[in-house]
């Protein structure tokens, strides 16, 4: 055990420890050597494994995603860096028509052990093409398991779990949780075991117990929701905070149980509002807990606009602690009036 700050080192350590045990793991992507994939997810691997196993590719998302498909189908387990999730467009066909489908389409013949690691999120002024979250896009496609860690402990354990999975898994690491010195850090230092361990997919974590409402979140929205919950507590409002950890598979059991207990649900998402995580989670909750709901499910997400550059504009669209607090308060207050 030792203290770790952020997801980046935790993910890199998991890859390192699994690479030492599994010859088939190879890291592919842009700037994965000197720059550790920019957001640190492969830092420290290049000095240890060299260009033989840590492979800088040309800027060719379509081709290195396709190479991962081909390599996985004949025996490697590629760990692919998609530097920013925003660049998925440049390699999307290989991901959504092949990586996600070949196992199914081949009647189960083709293995597809690929782990894609990508950086998500805004809040530091990188504008419309470098600030998106987009996990909803991939969660929508049958064939990807979707991992969104909010803590260093989870990041290491979920990455190790992904590297043992025979299926395509995408890990979405939020930039403001990486713990790198050049970015703001909204997580906390935590105890993380030095030894290998895994965290199971499909198990949400109840980060804070509460009675009056349930706040459902993933990634950066988890620490923001926890901060909002602290402020609510000062006013006597008791919020339960659920960290989804994986979107596919989704832990309906924990969600429904919490909704039944509190009767009010606020879903907080940094992805775009429509046709995404917030709508899906709301559907699953009402399907299992409609009779217990005391108010319509509420959601807070990016209001269907691209992420603008300028600070006041960016702050206006990405859910903040303040807006989570206000939304939670009005959800509880609205009910009290009824």
């Amino acid at each position: 055990m030792r203290k770790l700050r952020g997801l980046a080192f935790a993910i890199a350590e998991a890859i390192d420890q699994e690479m030492a045990h599994n010859e088939r793991l190879v890291v592919l992507g842009e700037d994965v050597t000197y720059w550790g994939a920019v957001f640190g997810f492969t830092m420290g691997l290049f000095p240890k494994y060299g260009r033989e196993r840590i492979v800088d590719t040309p800027i060719t998302e379509q081709t290195f995603m396709g190479m991962a498909v081909g390599a996985a189908s004949v025996g490697l387990h590629p760990v692919v860096s998609l530097m920013f999730v925003d660049f998925c467009g440049a390699g999307f066909d290989q991901m959504f028509n092949h990586m996600a489908k070949n196992h199914y389409m081949s009647g189960g013949q083709l293995p597809m052990p690929v782990t894609v690691i990508t950086a998500i999120g805004g809040g530091y002024g990188d504008a419309a093409q470098h600030s998106q979250v987009l996990y909803g896009l991939f969660a929508h496609l049958p064939g990807f398991k979707i991992v969104v860690p909010a803590t260093a402990y989870d990041a290491k354990g979920l990455t190790a779990r992904a590297l043992a999975d025979p299926n395509p898994v995408m890990i979405f690491g939020h930039k403001l949780l990486t713990g790198l010195p050049f970015l703001p850090f909204e997580g906390e230092e935590e105890e993380v075991p030095t030894e290998r361990y895994t965290v199971d997919f499909g198990q949400a974590a109840v980060r804070r117990q509460g009675r009056d409402l349930t706040i459902v979140a993933a990634g950066l929205m988890v620490p923001r929701s926890l901060k909002a919950a602290e402020r609510l507590a000062q006013e006597g409002i008791s919020a339960e905070v659920i960290d989804l950890r994986t979107l596919v598979p989704l832990d309906e059991t924990t969600l429904v149980a919490s909704a039944r207990k509190t009767g009010r649900v606020l879903i907080v998402d940094e992805d775009y509002m429509s046709y995404g995580l917030s709508g899906e989670v709301a559907f699953r909750i009402q399907a299992g807990a409609l009779g217990s709901l005391k108010a319509p499910i509420q959601r807070l997400a990016v209001p269907d606009v691209p992420i603008p550059f300028s600070e006041p504009l960016e702050s206006a669209v990405i859910p903040s602690v303040q807006r989570i607090y206000e939304a939670a308060r009005s959800l509880v207050g609205a009910q009290a009036l009824a």
Binding site: G123, G125, A127, Q129
Partner: protein, 345 residues
Amino acid sequence: MIKPEPSPQDLQYLVAQAGLDADQLRRAYRQLCLIRSFEDLIADRYYIGKTPEFNMAAGPIRGEMHLAVGQEAVAVGVCSLLQESDAVVSTHRPHHHALAKGVEPKKLAAEIFGKASGLCRGKGGHMHLFDTSRHFACSGIVGASFPQAAGAAFAFRKLGQRHVAVAFAGEGAANHGTFAETLNVASVFQLPLVVVIEDNLYADSTPKWAALSTVHHFQRAQSFNVPSYVVDGMDLIDVYRVAKLVIERARNGMGPALIEAVCYRYRGHFEGDAEEYRTREEVERWRALDPIPRLEERLKVLGWADEAMLSRLRDEARQEAEAAILFAESSPLPEPQEALRGVFQ
């Protein structure tokens, strides 16, 4: 230096051949200085709030910052031959192209500062600069410039307009599928397109040797039957000579071309780059080829400018850049509600 240094007599021959007169060359010099001053001032302001600890989210300019110090001659050499209605599509490193294409420095700076008076009302930022009045656009997605410029070229021809489109991109972008796909289309359709590869030897931290199967882009372009030229991207006159040839040909319906401009960026890939992937010595070696002193030298040899005139041009350029930064700094930020407007027309 990739071409023989011309003797004074040959220099006169070369500029005459390029159709460059004293006035044009002095104007080009002033443009180089404007870009250099602009980039230096942006760098200076970018670090406000970011020292001693470098935090990308702090200070008056947030996010990533890719500056083009060292690459000015490519932008000016090409764009000084363009008309206002010709289209330029640039990249994540766009300031030099924007300024060379005539984008107003004040509005450009204001956008980089995220101000309401910026080109895009503060919504775009440094990697997403658009100015329809100058037919200028760019993208933070590598490889995106090629097909968009080809599309503009396609439209110009369809609309019967004698305009040319230019795609700028780095040597890293030339590995992207869009490079090959665009050259093929431009060649089949004989589009009025000029592709300019600014080959500065690195894509992020990745040296060219690790990512390109050949050091030369012209080899690849020629396989699509696109006429291609290698130029010294640190020499304005060399860039200009070739750009003039290919732009005129494209304008006259003679099809696309590629210019491979060998150049160097003196600053990191982006600000905050620790540059572990290259040596100080290499950077110093390229300093000897700095396009600004090189053009000064040539202007003197040609007898077209003396030190006093050069210094006057430099000062003017510096003042113009300073005025732009001042305008940006003193402009108001946009109102938060602006964020929700403008997804659709």
